[in-house]
Amino acid sequence: MHIPDGFIAPQMYLPLYGLAAGLWAYGAKRVARDLDEATLPWLASLTAASFALSFIALPLPGGTSAHVTGVGLLAASFGIWNAFMAASLVFAIQALLFGDGGVTTLPLNALAMGFAGAVAARGLFLLLRRTGLALFLAGWISLFLPAVLIALALGAQPLLVHDPAGAPLYFPFGWSVTLPALLIPHALLGLGEGALTVLGGRLIERLRLRYRHD
């Protein structure tokens, strides 16, 4: 979801930055806790892999293709905090090195996709006892839940900031538009991400036996 800068008001992105910063500080500690010296290279490699993942295109029925986020896969395989930190770094790299996505939208993406998506994915995965269905749903929700959150955030803009006459000054549509506009496509895209998460997750299970590192 590459929302450019300028659509989300500071009244929203500033508090989001505050929240995200707290989670990043905690996340850094959590990742470091299990790894000490290897933390930096580990996080860097995971970030590189997530970044590369975003270039995989999934074919969708109808001839189009969507890009993978892989957050579901990361969360199911490596846990919430690893997925969150890596995804956040990827958003930062995309915005500051490639101009892809925004700097002011960074906390929204990181919190919605990197955090909420990861939590929901990991939660479902563990709840459904790591089955194939669990992987599929984890992938699906890692795309769908963030879409809900982002639709809520965007739709709140006209309420949050408007001129004296009530006209919107940032993103113009309310929830009645953003929710259906985002949820329907993402419910469908989630199917593709779910399929990928099942296939990929199975493969990783077998590969990780080689390293016995979690």
Partner: protein, 183 residues
Amino acid sequence: MTEQQKLATYLAALFTASWLTAPVWLAGGLIVVLLLCWREAGRLLRRAVLASATFSGTVSLAYLGHAWWLSQPLPLDWLLTVNLRVGLMALLTFLFIERVNLFQALSFSRRLSFLLVLAVSQSLGLRRTLAEFRLGLQSRSPRPAGITARYRAAAHAAAWLLDRALANAHESAQAMQSRGMFR
């Protein structure tokens, strides 16, 4: 100006631009930044527009269409304000990317710079191989590959990437250790 100062200036400018809601100020800001771009102004503006066009364009058209449909006056003020703001902020970002070395700008934090350098350099190699997965499937397919094959190939690419991440992490950690990074 040091790279850190440039980064701080960029962030401050971006922040300021995000508050602006009057077209006059936004247009003024845009002109100032275009001047700062100097010779690259045309190219950077084009990149900025391209990067934001899909989203901005869709939303703008939808909003205009929505007003027209409901026989309401067209929201031209909004159109101008938001598109100027989006353009200004995108241009600031591309100017930043052009003029500032992010790796140096982050040198105030040893950890952050290492993280960035390692992540970016590894991702370049990974992306090259990723392209190979697509080519490999193409090369083996006398008929365009079915959806199952494409998903399987994508899943293998994803798993391979994450497996490589584990391998790279081990190697990088060892290399850094051997060069005396960890005291």
